[in-house]
Symmetry: D2
Subunit: 343 residues, 4 copies
């Protein structure tokens, strides 16, 4: 930690900061500059919370030198973490798995048809929400346990791994019975109670970036899971809130190489939420693979125009099949491959 | 709902949209323009979800004419809602109550001292977190039930109403036993499970705006509470995420008159989180009152430099006492008054 | 400047940074920490550009300790600058001047009527654009020199000082012949050629904050003017681009006390552009005065529904007169007064 | 245009809006809904400015159905525009040209070495600023005409086309003498005087998106150029301002397919400014090609650690050569090719 003093700071004010640092058991190392003095805090084991210093007289700014997260960082673990959610379905190992399926589980027929379609095209996991976080209380909220049972049926029929969202503590335990990977949605990225609960369940987790979360925030939320002993965490970029309404979100693909540099955890991309428009999914899925994504999650619905949610961003099975063909080419061009049996 | 067609849309494409509308049981009213045709959906009782139309051939855009929320709107209820959290402590009734206290409950001595100090200055409710949502799992997470008991003690000693945060379903029930008003934090504004649980508890709620939430999002989250039968909802503006690091958040005071126009619910302002810097609390608290806020929530700590969280934005008791003196003048200048006995 | 090294940085990598610093003629002061080493650059007179270091092996981050601006800073000049644009019309001196008038000069009748109306209500300067930056080339672009002559007429009739915008070098010289204060609009805040030209003209300048400009950016743009020898600079907060469409911009009133802390230059607020809606101008003008603004600039049009631009955010003369009455009360409540003869 | 009335709007208020519309010479078509009445404005040839209606009694919102731009739109011209800046260097024709070179022209040796290096790797145009928009007046401002002459020399030596920035009217005419394509920088995207001047010069233009510009804003700025008769316009995505400091900007690659749908103009991507970090340029350049970019502009410096500006985001010649090899693979994978002779 570095305490930057104002140009007008008096020797007394500088000394008072040094005293505060020493009282906490650290060493204070003043560093006078032409314009300002900066005081280093040396000897700390982890990050020290210096917010109390921020408004002390003469203090201009507190600058943190260490990262606030630990176990998720590349410095903690150099090699990539490989997260395996089902036999043969691994993220971070090299090949790029694709998770696909509808926004919501709507009926047995719909989810089974979706599962067959996405499996035929090469997806290795099925997405589909049984618990849906909707901004309006009057929108369809998901089928709950019934939806989970439909997912289980789809899994039995196709062998696909299941990725589905949990929204609260009770729901998380239920979801854990059925899912191979528990999704934590963007709106719950900083729902720390849920993170702790899910961290203890020991199932792989897909953690989506919040719509105004910095990458540091995302990594700190993942740290909650690792701090509970669960290292099976897949991060997900799904777009940020933006001032431009041309797309639903602002898809931040640079987050992929940034996360890969800072953390050993795999990161997947969601071009469906990232763009919000079906016809933008193909170009942005290609871009995500080219940027180095460790996986993709794509919305596919047998009849998007009848979807109960997210119809506008869901691909048809045919569109998804073409997308997969295209993604294989891009993956190869960047020295990777799409996971799963060649189609 | 209005479906705007592309300039290149064919008569067939226009007809297909009309068919979709009629199949849902509504009337389609095409409106040909010089450049484009727009098709009105007439006969709906509430908002129709048209996202499935968005990518139909020839469709350029879907425009919603009705609001997505109902019970929170001014059109639903013309007069201001008055939310009374304790005898004599009402929001929306005219006088402006001030809630004050530390970020976290840290000890019996600290919270009781805080309570006496803020009461002496004129606050009518005490804030202080027993459950703390912290971005790092290694930061102080609050004292939990012990903290709630300390708040109860502070209430017995001073008579102040208690406002404190709940972070999950189990916690909400516990908080409801001690608090006069349950706070839902910015990070949980779209934690819909928590909203439903808290909506059912029947206690007054202080709902903070999420850091990238539109005002529509905020009103929809409030709608979750009203849809559960709980109309005792106070909204709170506490600053948005911004690209400028000069202040912790971007305090959106315009939200106050905007919410007051769209909704009958009271809205309070939090200049402590809104700015993140102690020396900015006074000017922005004044500005909030001048903008018409129905209440304020201000962080005060007996010794900010020793605070376990948010020290930099906490006022000292002396600063808070001066702030209250100043706020009374501004309230009077805009034809209002600060709630509570004159000091 | 502080160079933060990665945890994995080798002694060689640390040494290479020290060499770079020494080659530039400064002293390198390494500061080993538990997790990372940070290297201070000592001995610099002003800000050193360290961007070339950012991607050297082992470097994690570059942190600047000094401000990038000089003459605009409080550290350069402790007392407030007072900017006088016409006899008796001063910003930063204590009393709060109000500039008012239409978005554009549309006709002699319109601008003269506007001038009389705003003067009667207590404004001390007249705004009105003769050169209009419009996002569409097909929108009304202003009357140019003819408009400036109409402003001159309005000045002769009412004695009001004139504030009007310049958009390019040629226009700036023309504007300087007629105006008492040259406005540089938000879209041109980083038009450095224009800043240099206007800086040389020696007229007072009203510099509006760009719609995604940090406060540091704003101060750096002002520094361009001071660097040309022109210290007569008034800053202006007029709202930032936001994701919420409920208001035209996100009015950042916290910028007022932040700028006042960092700089000696006066800062005024524009609640018309800040909100974009006529009925939000009164509450946010009050809030701006309460936050400590050194002046206000408000759009007023004799017939807003016939305005050629910005009709929705222009007050009528009657609304403006009431606003002025209200602002006097708020100014008094915060220990200030609205500039000009009592009405 | 559609005027949405409030639920509480009276028949009189509705009629008043209809009268306003008829007085302007259009037809008013009221469309009563269950909750609200909407009034269509029919018979307009282009976009009507309805801002004056926004605050009429009973009016809730104005919704525009037509685009505000014309000649840049796909509806105006269906086929892609092909912009040829020099013989064999075309954007929008299929193959993807790469523009490369240093941020600034620093010396004859530096620019000539850069030109040889980027040409050897396969670039077909050279970038390099002689006029530099810098946020601080104390930063290096470019070599001006001397820099342009150095660019001319580099062109004679390598045959590369020249792309370089103009910042003002006088500079634009000078730049036009030397450059094959005039760049308008992000900070000047809404400098309408410059757009008009450059539009009249008749040279191809590279127009960069402003850091908080919507895609509609970008297209409107391009419309300024087309309205002056210059259709040789290349758009450029270079990243938006963001709240996350992990990258310099938020690179909005979705803008590429969005622009390509709305407009016939080619759009290139700038991964150097888009990310701000050298090691992120390769993945994001790959992603841009995969997303369908019609060209790339990449910063390359012979010795980035000695660069006078943007050192941290400049690739070395070796890195750029590898990047080009990788980009060829990705281009092929999406059915395109990098422009220029195979290397």
């Amino acid at each position: 930690m570095l305490v930057v003093m104002k140009q007008s700071a008096t020797p007394d004010e500088i000394e008072r900061v040094c005293v505060w640092i020493r009282e906490k058991g650290y060493t204070a190392q003043p560093m006078p500059g032409a314009q300002r003095t900066a005081i280093g805090l040396v000897g700390n084991d982890g990050r020290v919370d210096g917010s109390a210093l921020e408004d002390m007289p003469g203090v201009a700014e507190i600058i943190y030198v260490s990262n606030p997260y630990k176990q998720v960082s590349r410095e903690w673990r150099k090699e990539n973490s490989i997260v395996t959610i089902a036999p043969g379905v691994s993220f971070g190992a090299g090949p790029v798995p694709v998770i696909a399926g509808p926004c919501s589980v709507e009926s047995e027929a719909q989810i089974v048809a979706s599962a067959h379609a996405v499996r035929a095209a090469g997806a290795v996991a099925l997405r589909g929400g049984a618990f849906k976080p909707r901004s309006s209380p009057y929108s369809f909220q998901g089928l709950g346990r019934t939806g989970l049972e439909m997912l289980a049926l789809a899994k039995r029929e196709t062998g696909l791994a299941i990725v589905t969202e949990a929204m609260d503590d009770a729901g998380a335990e239920l979801v854990a019975e059925y899912a191979d990977c528990i999704q934590i949605g963007a709106r719950n990225m900083q729902n720390y109670s849920l993170l702790k609960t899910v961290g203890k369940l020991g199932k792989p987790v897909l953690l989506k970036r919040g719509m105004a979360a910095t990458i540091t925030d995302l990594l700190l939320s993942a740290e909650y899971l690792l701090a509970e002993g669960n290292g099976q965490v897949i991060l997900c970029e799904r777009g940020l809130r933006s001032f431009d309404t041309q797309s639903r979100n602002l898809f931040d693909l640079t987050a992929i190489p940034v996360v890969q540099q800072l953390s050993h955890l795999p990161i997947v991309a969601d071009p469906s939420h990232g763009t919000g428009r079906r016809d933008k999914v193909l170009p942005m899925a290609r871009a995500a693979v080219a940027a180095g994504a460790d996986g993709l999650i794509i919305e596919v619905h047998p009849q998007p125009e009848k979807a109960m949610s997210d119809g506008a961003q869901s691909q048809t099975p045919d569109q998804f099949a073409s997308t997969m063909v295209e993604l294989r080419k891009v993956a190869e061009a960047v020295g990777r491959m799409i996971a799963g049996p060649a189609k």
